[in-house]
C-alpha cells in the first residue's frame, strides 16, 4: 500500500479516477462506449479525442519545463500551423488529393520547427528569459496566423486532412493514435537514450551541467523545437477536427492548460525531473474537467469558479506538504514509524 501511494504517478492517477467516477454519478451513461457509424463513440472517447492536442502540447511543454524554461508561444504555433496547412489545401484545385495534403502538412510542421528554432535561439543563444522570449512569438505569432488566414476562417473539405484530427482509423480516433505515437516516441527518445538525463541535469543545475561538458544550448534549442513541433501537430489536429482554420481562436490560452497539465503531472516548473506519463495524466485530468463542466451543466458564469476550486483541490491533494499537515491534524498522537512514512 505504502509503495503504491508513494509512486509519483499515484496521485494524478487517483485524481483522474475520482473525477471520472464523479461523472458517473451525474451521467450514468458516462462510461458507455458504443459503436456508431463504424467508430467508437462515448464520453471517454471524447475525452481522449479532445484531450489529444492538449496531450501533445503538454508533452512538448514538459521538455521545455524540464530545462527550467517555459513556452508561452505554443498557442500561437497551433494557430499558425493550422492556418498554413488549411490555406495551402484551400488553394489547391483538388482538396481531396493526398499528395497536396501531405505537402500542406509538411510545410506546416516545417514552419513550426522554424518557430521552435526561433524560440530556442532566443533563449539559448541570445540568453533571453524564456517567458519573455516566447511571449514575443505569442504576441506576434497570432498576428502571423491571422495574416495567413486574412482574419477569416478558412473552411476546407478534404477527407485526408480530416483524418488527422477528426476521423477514425479502424474505429479509433486517429488523433489519439498520433498522441500515443508521439508519447511513445518521446518516452523512447528521452528514456532509452541519455537525452532525458541530460535535460534533467540542465534543468536541475545549468552551471554544473556546463562544467560536466553538457552542451546545454543544443539541448535547450532541441527542447523548444520539440515543443513547437508538438504544437504544430496539435494545430493540425485542431483545424482538422473542425475542418477549418481559425487563426484568431485556435489554441487560444492553451499554453496555460498545457503548463497546468505538466505541473499536475508532477513536473516542477523549476526544471529538472520530469514525468511524461504524469503529463499525460495531467492533460486528461484537465480535459475531463472540461467535459465534466459541460455534461453536468455547470452554469457558464460559475464555470471559472468551479475550475478554480477543482484545480486548487487537485494541487493541494498532490502537495506532500498539504497532506502532511492535514494528516498531522487528524492524528495528533505520534503514529507508529511505518505509518508515519505514508504522508512523506
Amino acid at each position: 500500500m505504502t509503495a503504491i501511494t508513494k509512486h509519483r504517478l499515484f496521485w494524478p492517477a487517483a485524481i483522474l479516477a475520482v473525477m471520472l467516477l464523479a461523472n458517473l454519478i451525474f451521467t450514468p451513461t458516462f462510461f458507455r462506449i458504443e459503436l456508431k457509424n463504424g467508430h467508437l463513440y462515448g464520453s471517454l472517447i471524447d475525452i481522449l479525442l479532445y484531450g489529444a492536442p492538449l496531450i501533445l502540447i503538454a508533452l512538448g511543454m514538459t521538455m521545455v519545463i524540464a530545462t527550467g524554461g517555459i513556452d508561452l508561444s505554443v498557442g500561437a504555433t497551433v494557430a499558425i500551423s493550422g492556418a498554413l496547412a488549411c490555406s495551402i489545401i484551400a488553394d489547391q484545385p483538388d482538396q481531396e488529393a493526398v499528395g497536396g495534403v501531405l505537402t500542406a502538412v509538411a510545410l506546416a510542421l516545417g514552419l513550426s520547427l522554424v518557430l521552435g528554432l526561433w524560440n530556442g535561439l532566443l533563449v539559448a543563444r541570445v540568453g533571453i528569459q524564456p517567458i519573455i522570449a516566447t511571449l514575443i512569438l505569442m504576441v506576434a505569432g497570432r498576428g502571423v496566423a491571422q495574416l495567413i488566414t486574412d482574419g477569416q476562417i478558412i473552411t476546407i473539405n478534404s477527407a485526408p486532412y480530416e483524418l488527422i484530427g477528426g476521423d477514425y482509423l479502424f474505429g479509433f480516433p486517429f488523433a489519439v493514435l498520433i498522441a500515443v505515437v508521439v508519447f511513445t516516441g518521446t518516452a523512447v527518445l528521452t528514456r532509452r537514450t541519455a537525452l532525458g538525463l541530460l535535460l534533467e541535469a540542465v534543468g536541475g543545475n545549468a552551471e554544473a551541467s556546463r562544467l560536466v561538458g553538457i552542451r546545454a544550448r543544443r539541448l535547450l534549442v532541441l527542447a523548444y523545437v520539440f515543443s513547437a513541433f508538438c504544437a504544430g501537430i496539435a494545430g493540425l489536429m485542431i483545424s482538422s477536427n473542425i475542418r477549418a482554420a481559425d487563426g484568431n481562436n485556435a489554441g487560444l490560452w492553451i499554453e496555460l492548460d498545457a503548463i497546468l497539465a505538466v505541473v499536475i503531472g508532477g513536473t516542477s516548473l523549476m526544471g529538472g525531473r520530469f514525468s511524461l506519463a504524469g503529463t499525460v495524466l495531467g492533460a486528461l485530468i484537465i480535459q475531463t474537467l472540461s467535459t465534466t463542466i459541460y455534461t453536468t451543466g455547470v452554469p457558464p458564469q460559475v464555470t471559472l469558479v468551479f475550475k478554480a476550486v477543482v484545480v486548487t483541490a487537485v494541487c493541494l491533494i498532490q502537495s506532500p506538504a498539504f497532506r502532511a499537515k492535514a494528516f498531522r491534524r487528524r492524528r495528533p498522537s505520534a503514529p507508529a514509524p511505518a505509518e508515519a512514512e505514508v504522508p512523506a
Binding site: K36, Y41, D46, Y50, A244, S290, I293, Y294, P300, T303
Partner: protein
C-alpha cells in the same frame, strides 16, 4: 491639447487637403465576422475618398479609450468606434464633445447619454435573439410534449452573448413547452462549439433544438451531431445568428434551419454618415442596419451573392 507643438502636420492630410479624416477604433480581430466588418470599413473609406485612421483595440477597452483620446489629439474630423463593452464611455465621449468632434458608434451600443454621440449604427443583439425565439415558437407551435433546447452561448460576459440570450429566452417564455435544458459557453468558436456539443449530446439523450449564438459554434456543433450518428437539421433543429458564408451554405444544405442575420457590412453606411457629420448635418440617433432572417430556401437563393 498638443502642447502647442506639432499640429499633426505629417500625420495625414486633414482639413487642409480637403479630405475628411475618420478615426476608427475597431474592437479587435476575434472572428471572421469582425474581419469582414473591418474590411468593409476600409474598402468603403477608400471608395468614398475618406482618410481612415484605423486602430485595433485587441479586445481591450483601455486601448480603445486611449485610441479615441489619441484621435482627439490628432484632431481628426470624425471618430467612429465599435465599443468593446457597453459601459464606461462617458468620460471620453465628453472629451470628444469638448473638442467638437462628432462620434459615431458602430455595431454595438453604449449606455451613455445619447447627447454624447452623433449616432449609433448597428445591429440590435436583443432583437436577433428575439428573431430566433419567434422562429422557434412558430416551428414548435404544434409540439405537444416538451421541446428540449440547448443553447451554445458566446463568450461569457460579452454583449452579444448577454443580449442574444436575453432576447431568445424572453421570447420563448411564452410557450411553456419550450425549455432550455442546457446552456454552455462555446466562446463563439467552432472548435469549442463542437467540443461542447459533443459533451451535451452525451449528457442529454433527447435534444430537439440547438440555438447557437453565432454561425461558427453552430457549424462546430453540426460536426458533433454528425459524429453522434444524428442528422443535423433533421434530428436536431438548429438556429444560429450572423449569416456568414459558411453558415449560409449549411443553411442552404438544410443542416441549419434558421439564421438571423447580423451584417458586418456597415462600411458604406458609415462613410455616408461620416460625410454628413463632418459637414455638420444633423443625424438620426439610431440607425439599424438592414438585416433580415434566412430560411433554407432564402439562403439557397442568395448564397451566390454573399460577400462574406
Amino acid at each position: 491639447a498638443c502642447g502647442g507643438g506639432g499640429e499633426d502636420t505629417a500625420s495625414g492630410g486633414e482639413a487642409g487637403s480637403g479630405k475628411i479624416v475618420l478615426g476608427f477604433s475597431q474592437v479587435g480581430s476575434e472572428s471572421g465576422w469582425r474581419a469582414a466588418n473591418t474590411k468593409s470599413v476600409k474598402d468603403s473609406a477608400a471608395t468614398a475618398g475618406i482618410d481612415l485612421k484605423f486602430s485595433d483595440a485587441q479586445q481591450k477597452q483601455e486601448n480603445q479609450i486611449a485610441s479615441i483620446r489619441s484621435y482627439i489629439q490628432q484632431k481628426v474630423d470624425v471618430i467612429a468606434f465599435s465599443p468593446v463593452v457597453v459601459t464606461g464611455w462617458d468620460a471620453v465621449l465628453k472629451e470628444a464633445q469638448a473638442a467638437k468632434i462628432p462620434v459615431i458608434l458602430t455595431d454595438r451600443a453604449v449606455d451613455s447619454d445619447a447627447s454624447l454621440y452623433a449616432t449609433f449604427i448597428g445591429s440590435d443583439f436583443v432583437k436577433e435573439g428575439e428573431e430566433v425565439g419567434k422562429w422557434a415558437l412558430e416551428e414548435f407551435k404544434s409540439a405537444t410534449g416538451p421541446v428540449n433546447i440547448v443553447q451554445l452561448e458566446g463568450t461569457v460576459g460579452s454583449a452579444p452573448a448577454i443580449d442574444r440570450k436575453k432576447g431568445f429566452e424572453a421570447t420563448i417564455a411564452s410557450n411553456p413547452n419550450l425549455k432550455v435544458i442546457a446552456s454552455q459557453s462555446g466562446d463563439f468558436t467552432r472548435a469549442k462549439g463542437k467540443e461542447v456539443m459533443q459533451a451535451l449530446l452525451q449528457a442529454n439523450p433527447k435534444i430537439d433544438l440547438l440555438f447557437a449564438h453565432n454561425d461558427d459554434m453552430g457549424l462546430g456543433a453540426i460536426e458533433a451531431i454528425k459524429a453522434a450518428g444524428l442528422k443535423p437539421g433533421t434530428d436536431i433543429k438548429i438556429a444560429t445568428i450572423d449569416a456568414v458564408k459558411d453558415g449560409m451554405t449549411a443553411l442552404a444544405a438544410n443542416e441549419i434551419n434558421f439564421i438571423a442575420e447580423c451584417s458586418p457590412l456597415l462600411g458604406e453606411q458609415l462613410m455616408e454618415l461620416t460625410k454628413k457629420a463632418a459637414a455638420g448635418e444633423p443625424l438620426e440617433k439610431r440607425i439599424v442596419t438592414k438585416e433580415t432572417t434566412f430560411t433554407p430556401q432564402q439562403a439557397a437563393e442568395v448564397l451566390s451573392t454573399r460577400q462574406y
